[in-house]
Symmetry: C2
Subunit: 456 residues, 2 copies
């Protein structure tokens, strides 16, 4: 425990430097989905590798994939000691709508207790806190466990090359469990550990009418407007009670048992706070479930984007040739993402009229996961959170998707401890993403306590 206390002291002494390095990390525009940022993504990988090296990780390598590279690190512990693989990603989401950012997304700005930047919360802040914990601990002597790092650059585009990477480096990545830092807690002072994640299946649906855009006066009303047809199809994807209508969508959904519903009911939550946090005029959702059940335990379908015809300023009297929607589903444990593609196509075959044509492209998918809450690593994480936050963490189901968790269960046979410090109100993926700075610092200390507790 002396090592731990000294590491905590080191982290506190180096707080300003850590924050400056965090800012530098946030300045690199590592948007993985945009081809024009390929060089920025590569620079970010190099930056992260340098940080691992600075933190005392013995072997660090930037390893190529068919897409953006993986940053790998390793420090061997004593023979027979457990092995922990820390997972994170260094890429970020695009920044549009960019004109809604108060400060530029890649010029981190501290306002009050928050730092604002794309990636501040998702997840540069989290993975960087873990690296700083490793730096603080490695100053105190050899690690009592084997530490591995796997930090990818394609999480925000669905990790298209990670599966092949894990297969190719199967032996290198062997471990007893994963610490996944791409996670959050429930509220600023409410520590939490996520034990269930939703899967994702994300599609682009295009509906076509005429061969090209036509004049809406000369042709409108004589052929089916594809924007209207798309609206009709999307409108039909939920029934009046908010259930998703894709055929078979709920077939494999695991029912919530009474014990879990009771546990969810005990979580700190109020409809009024949720309304205030989102700014929506009212809540909405699947009938028969409350908000936390809808988010954590039920599959959902969302329109993520929609585009057709003329969308500039003013008026253009065009009858569009096509209309496009990005549609994604969040899936719970036991649902197969691959099935959703078939369900969506079955829905379209049944409901799309012969007056337009449709095409579906699957953009990304990943399975949901549910973890054992009683492992030694879970216990160590729980103890660390309780020590730093002064209260026992809650165990929660997460609405978001971390497909890597299911992938690591499948490919390496290991569970993940979800340990990160993002907040639901951080605005990740949207404008003005932020990280609550006190928890960035508590995060470093939590990782120090957690790792110190692993060798015990």
């Amino acid at each position: 425990m002396n090592g731990c206390n000294n590491a905590i002291a080191f982290a506190r002494e180096n707080r300003e430097r850590f924050l400056n390095e965090y800012r530098a990390f946030l300045r690199i525009e590592s948007i993985s989905t945009l081809a024009e940022h390929r060089q920025d993504v590569a620079r970010t990988a190099q930056w992260v590798a340098d940080q691992l090296h600075l933190a005392g990780v013995a072997h660090v390598a930037i390893m190529p994939t068919a897409g953006h590279p993986v940053v790998y690190g390793e420090t061997k512990g004593p023979a027979g000691a457990p092995t922990m693989l820390v997972y994170g990603h260094y890429d970020v989401q695009p920044v549009d709508p960019v004109d809604e950012w108060v400060s530029p997304p890649f010029e981190p700005e501290v306002r009050g207790d928050y730092i604002y930047a794309r990636g501040a919360s998702d997840m540069k802040g989290q993975i960087f806190a873990s690296i700083k914990a490793v730096e603080a601990l490695s100053k105190q002597g050899p690690f009592p466990f084997t530490l591995k790092y796997l930090i990818e650059g394609e999480e925000e585009i669905g990790s298209p090359n990670l599966g092949a990477f894990i297969d190719e480096h199967h032996d290198l990545l062997q471990c007893d469990f994963v610490c996944n830092c791409d996670a959050g807690i429930h509220a600023p002072d409410v520590p939490a550990i996520t034990y269930a994640l939703r899967g994702l299946a994300y599609f682009e649906l295009e509906v076509r009418g005429a061969e090209k855009d036509l004049h809406s006066g000369l042709f409108g009303g004589s052929i089916h407007n594809p924007a209207q047809a798309l609206c009709e199809l999307i409108a039909g994807m939920h029934d009046a009670d908010g259930h998703v209508t894709l055929p078979g969508f709920y077939d494999k959904v695991r029912a919530l048992d009474a014990e879990e519903r009771a546990a969810i009911a005990r979580l700190p939550y109020s409809d009024e706070e949720w309304k205030a946090m989102t700014g929506a005029p009212a809540l909405w959702g699947e009938k028969g479930f409350n908000t936390l059940e809808r988010i954590g335990a039920r599959p959902t379908l969302e329109v993520n984007g929609m585009l057709s015809g003329f969308t500039g300023e003013g008026s253009k009297t065009v009858l569009p040739a096509k209309a496009m929607a990005k549609i994604s589903t969040r899936l719970v444990a036991d649902q197969e993402p691959g099935d959703v593609h078939d369900q969506l196509c079955a829905y379209l075959k049944r409901h799309c009229p012969p007056t337009v044509t449709w095409e579906v492209r699957e953009l990304t998918h990943g399975k949901g996961a549910i973890m054992d809450r009683k492992t030694p690593a879970m216990k160590a994480a729980s103890n660390a959170l309780e020590t730093v936050f002064g209260k026992e963490p809650i165990f929660k189901r997460e609405g978001g998707s971390v497909p890597i968790v299911a992938m690591l269960q499948d490919k390496l046979g290991v569970d993940s401890v979800m340990l990160g410090f993002a907040l639901p109100s951080d605005g990740i993926h949207g404008p003005n993403e932020k990280q609550y700075l006190p928890n960035f610092l508590r995060g470093i200390e939590t990782y120090i306590h957690f790792m110190s507790g692993l060798g015990a």
Copy 2:
């Protein structure tokens, strides 16, 4: 008639020069709706004024409005002679989707019998043909009628300042009838005169949910997705039989009588050709009416554009804060465009759920019109078409809107002769807009015969 024959000869001798000037006209990017083209629009007005001057029009002026200027021209005829006001516009529609143009929209290219460019058909080709007819005629001696030109630069944005201009210059614009060149014929060898036009009411509808874009995994399924809500609202704007459901939408629609239905049935038309022309997989429309009735005699509602959330390449798991649609209605005689705004709002009040908010902005509107087919000017136009095309023109109802026609009826008390040579297949407002060149040349000759016939 000697003057007429000499003018025809002059037009044939100067064909190459006329085509080169037409090309120069098409090269100027007079997109009235885009602020960045303001200078181009002004340059176009100057170019048109120069052409009127070159054509022998005695008094030419560029006259300011609160928006883009009007080009005015006048040549006085003998005392007691009739006065014709020629109407046209020199502005054009935007060019998106620009990547679907085979040749750049402002680099006119002749392929086969067609010239391709934005504005080739709508309506630089038409107004320019009339100006060249005036040039040919003015070489032959004084006009037997008073000629006035009113060429505006804001037709494609709904002529927001034309009403005030006409009011301000009410005396200057006095005339016995209008020749509106913003018109077309039915097929390459089927001359036609439009005697009815549809009105237009064009709106932007915005639906809002959360205050800002949110993560679709963390919030999706707990609040109403505004893109989904917009789809639900748009889907409900037509019933299963293709009727528009806005309350009161059909209240003032004038029923088609048996005689008009019979006249429409005699027009050259086939469903197969219409399908081939549009490229749509099937026809669609209001039950109880055929295509030409739907286009010419029934009001319709179209989605002209739609935008929400992430529409770039790849996937972004965002729950959008808002969704927008451009929605326009085409109206038939007796429907009041101002009523449609109220009808749309009434529909939204009735059907928009409390889980989202909505806002409607009216972007533009204009009334429909129906004209007397038996005036001397109509007769002169009919004769001219028969002389040049070798067959009697058909009289037709037009699906498009030329709100200026109703405006001139209201403000100056005069009817319009719709005389232009665009074709339904010209692709106006869309990519690869074209003009059938043989009819551009026949158009010049038709205008020559028409004007020669007026003094008689």
